[in-house]
Amino acid sequence: MWTIGKLTVKEMISKRIFLITIIMTLIFLALYGTAIYFAGKEGAEAGDGGQGTEAFLMQQFVASQLLGVGLYFSSFITALLAIMSSVSAISGEVSSHQIDTWLMRPISRSQFVLGKFLGLAFLLIAYAISLFFSIIFLHQGIGAEWMALDIEPFQMIKAVSVFAIQPFVLVAFGVLLSTRMTTLNAGIVAIILYGAAFIGGFIEQFGAVVEKTSLVNIGIVMSLVFPIDSMYRKMTILLFDSADNPLSIAQGGMFTSISTPGNIMVWYAVLYGAAAVVFSIYSFKNRDV
């Protein structure tokens, strides 16, 4: 299992797409940092004359929105990377017949699937965590005083833990699909579900703003079908909701959360991912390759 896991990590790292992803991520971080720098500078200049609650609320709103955008985009590229790398995890090996020489070794099918999952999950979770902290540090550091939000280290740890659930679920789901479908079909199914969850999340937030329960319920159902967007929303709650701050800046806009997923949703997402891994093993156990 560990050998397959190690090989999966090595394979991902050796691919050109990995290098391109790293370069593009660095470019994105550079652009984000530049935007934050100027937003912080101009915000500080414009805010010199303003004082009191209104100016404070404006600063908090803009800062949380910009951090929300950065994290949302990070969540998006992590998700795409997780989907693209996991939907071919098994099917790609089967169609190329590379799997033959691995599976004829004295390892079980479940060890193979677990190895693939662990390798991909490790890499994608590491990527997600790195991206999360890069965005936070850029925002809090380069954005300087005007842009900085009151975020405690413990909040960051809680938030990043939930942020990392997204690649965990996506990789588990992608591997499950790849045990039964071709890479293309699995990719289409995963992307559509991700898109539906994404739209469902926005509908839920919009429903909460206009206080329409039916819209909120649609979002909740989508979260149950594919608990990805809800994890992003939960992460923003954990990150922005300062206990010391009576004005919860989590109520900030579409990139943060208005309708708040409960803790049970976090457990649901973890169980969802774990169930997908178990089903992957079961699905691949007796399959012809």
Binding site: T3, L7, K10, E11, S14, K15, S96, H97, Q98, D100, T101, W102, L103, M104, R105, P106, I107, S108, N286, R287, D288, V289
Partner: protein
């Protein structure tokens, strides 16, 4: 002990194709040929034995362990027909990964990898990336993988398909070497000469069924033929146990005959008969049947018996 044993092993796809009702036993320390045309089910049989395909009927054992279990694959090596290896690895890294999967102790790995690289003629090229390997080199590194764990049984599926004549000879020599080491080599091939040159025992498979199996020499004795040159140009009275005869050319007062026999061992009796009839014999030459003829003989025989059974 039988190294490989199957009882009515079947793998079909919705009742069609694949292999049906294959029963065979393969002993230790031999090269066993599994001979058949393309699409006859040879690879399906091996892949079913290795647990890559789930059997739809029957049972099979490798070294006494039921097929499909991890234990049945502990002492096994395999070179697939469609050999594809991760092209981002070097040849050596591929072998290291397989060594790890085979649980070869870390201290022995380097030495064993060097040994197999030497054996398959890849010395000096093992550090290159597989993506840069020719088909022949890939097949050689695949062979190295197959024998890496010093297995007791090695499945080679069309092992010379990508090799040049020198490479083919190397592989044949390797099979003989492995047999001499007490290993069992199960050779899938559609190349009759390949099977003939190294195999002790053979199964002939056609359309997913075994049509004949046994020692290669015995299977070769399908229709014994002998060429005889007699003095004179007149008719000759041949003994009644000869199936048929055909008159060939006449040259310098001699006549060439092709006789079809039931059994090659009848040749001395023919000579005795002819000499008793005062026929001078100048030349006697048993004719070795063409390999294709042997193969077609067994295939046709199976078809005929199936036709009779259906009636």
């Amino acid at each position: 002990m039988d190294v490989i044993q199957t009882k009515s092993l079947t793998k079909t796809y919705d009742g069609k194709g694949g292999i049906s009702d294959v029963t065979l036993s393969v002993g230790e320390g031999i090269v066993y040929g599994f001979l058949g045309p393309n699409g006859s089910g040879k690879s399906t049989f091996v892949r079913t034995l290795l647990g890559l395909l789930q059997p739809t009927g029957g049972e099979g054992y490798i070294l006494g362990e039921p097929i499909g279990t991890t234990k049945s694959r502990e002492q096994v090596g395999y070179l697939p027909e469609l050999f594809r290896y991760p092209d981002w690895l070097t040849g050596k890294q591929l072998l290291e990964s397989h060594a790890e999967l085979c649980k070869i102790p870390a201290r022995q790995r380097s030495r064993r990898i060097e040994e197999v690289i030497e054996l398959v003629g890849m010395a000096g090229r093992e550090t290159g990336r597989i993506s840069g390997f020719s088909k022949g080199m890939s097949q050689r590194i695949g062979l190295a993988c197959a024998i890496l764990n010093d297995p007791k049984v090695i499945f080679l599926d069309e092992p010379t398909s990508a090799l040049d004549p020198i490479g083919r000879k190397d592989v044949r020599d390797l099979m003989v070497y492995l047999r001499d080491q007490g290993k069992t080599v199960f050779l899938n091939s559609h190349l009759l000469y390949e099977v003939e040159s190294v195999c002790d025992n053979v199964s002939i498979v056609h359309q997913g069924e075994i049509v004949a199996q046994g020692a290669w020499r015995e299977l070769m004795m399908t229709e014994a033929q002998v060429e005889i040159v007699t003095a004179g140009t007149g008719a000759v009275q041949f003994p009644p146990f000869i199936k048929s005869w055909q008159k060939g050319n006449e040259e310098e007062g001699r006549t060439r005959w092709i006789l079809q026999l039931e059994d090659e061992r009848d040749i001395p009796k023919i000579l005795h008969h002819l000499s008793s009839g005062k026929v001078d014999v100048h030349e006697v030459k048993p004719i070795t049947p063409h390999l294709e003829d042997v193969f077609m003989h067994w295939v046709n025989r199976k078809k005929e018996s199936a036709y009779v059974d259906n009636r």
